[in-house]
Subunit: 219 residues, 2 copies
């Protein structure tokens, strides 16, 4: 059967980037469709009626929503390339724990920095740095969160690295000064083609955020 694979996405989305990296790691061809989130397509609303969010992977007409679930789906379906999750159940549980941690802590604090009111940024920055330090501790001296190989937690976190520049500019801090190992890890990940071709440009992220903050009177 001819496979039809469409990714509804938005280029700057750290969640969308996860799906792109996962598909690139597995060397899967798909049709990329950019969504305008101010004017969502009928297809997006129909494929993700619950959350109405990107990314949505549509596989032979059937939707998979939520970025981490997409990554796991891609991992489970295309098994000819190395798995993102380790095979040992305990190690799998730990990878899931840290991916969930990225969603809950980095995603949340990051959002409060870039899309929150100016007066809340200092507090959000503290939360962000605290969470990133926990991740740095978990990374330790390993090349990747998955150990010697790029895996599930790496995919979950690396998409945020292209937003660091924006967080730093708004929060007036440097990730490298706080978490040097995370920066070294991010550079290591960016050497992979799957990552470099899937990440948005950090300056474009910043320009988008400046415009967003202006039109939403956040400063």
């Amino acid at each position: 059967m001819a496979e039809e694979l469409i990714l509804l996405d938005e280029w700057l989305s750290m969640y969308g980037m996860r799906a792109r990296i996962a598909l690139a790691e597995k060397e899967i061809k798909y049709e990329y469709r950019e969504e305008d989130l101010d004017n969502k397509t009928q297809l997006l609303l129909q494929m993700n009626p619950i959350h109405k969010k990107i990314p949505v992977l549509i596989h032979n007409g059937k939707p998979i929503c939520e970025s981490i679930i997409i990554v796991e789906y891609v991992d489970e379906l295309w098994k000819d390339k190395p798995s993102f999750l380790p095979s040992d159940p305990y190690q799998r549980s730990q990878a899931r724990f840290w991916a969930d941690f990225v969603n809950k802590k980095i995603g949340d604090a990051g959002w409060k920095i870039w899309a929150g009111k100016r007066e809340g940024i200092e507090e959000a920055k503290k939360e962000f740095v605290e969470a990133l330090k926990e991740l740095e501790k978990e990374l330790g001296d390993k090349p990747y969160f998955g150990g010697d190989s790029f895996g599930f937690v790496d995919i979950a976190l690396i998409s945020f690295s292209t937003w660091f520049y924006t967080y730093e500019a708004l929060g007036n801090f440097k990730v490298e000064a706080e978490c040097p190992k995370i920066i070294a890890w991010a550079k290591r990940c960016s050497q992979r083609e799957s990552v470099s071709k899937s990440l948005a440009d950090e300056k474009e992220v910043y320009e988008f955020v400046v415009g967003y903050r202006k039109s939403n009177h956040l400063d």
Copy 2:
């Protein structure tokens, strides 16, 4: 090797109940340890330093945290009993989607009902009912969310059913009037010993909440 399995839990917790049901479904023996959340044990703080929350499953000294991750760990480790997740990757992604939906929508709205200020309850009740109606639509006429067999989404949601009585009393509504199929499903689930012996008593939940609201001046 002798397996050592300890569950740090709190009897009224809907998240803890998920772990208990999963272990009971797999017929796994473990040591249950009730935590006093106002006075957490050193063991809990040491085993879950990040979130400091129950449930934590400690398997041969190593912790697994976050209820859904515990359920998946139990499912992956003990494979001699029927799996909670379907084998088909697409069906698995859908089960994960709905379990995540329960966490995000039912967990959140339920919390705003029982632990939120009185003036927010009406709005939280609307969110709760809306989310439960989505779940009822997803359930359709199937006996379980997993189809003919009790599975992942059933475990994720059933623990909330013992809190329905409390939500109803505080929100002045009846789940059965809004979502009759969910009530029929909950009764069906409760006929399983794994569920009936793992769920707290609804009146005890209510008494706890009344005390909690009083001491936190929520009414």
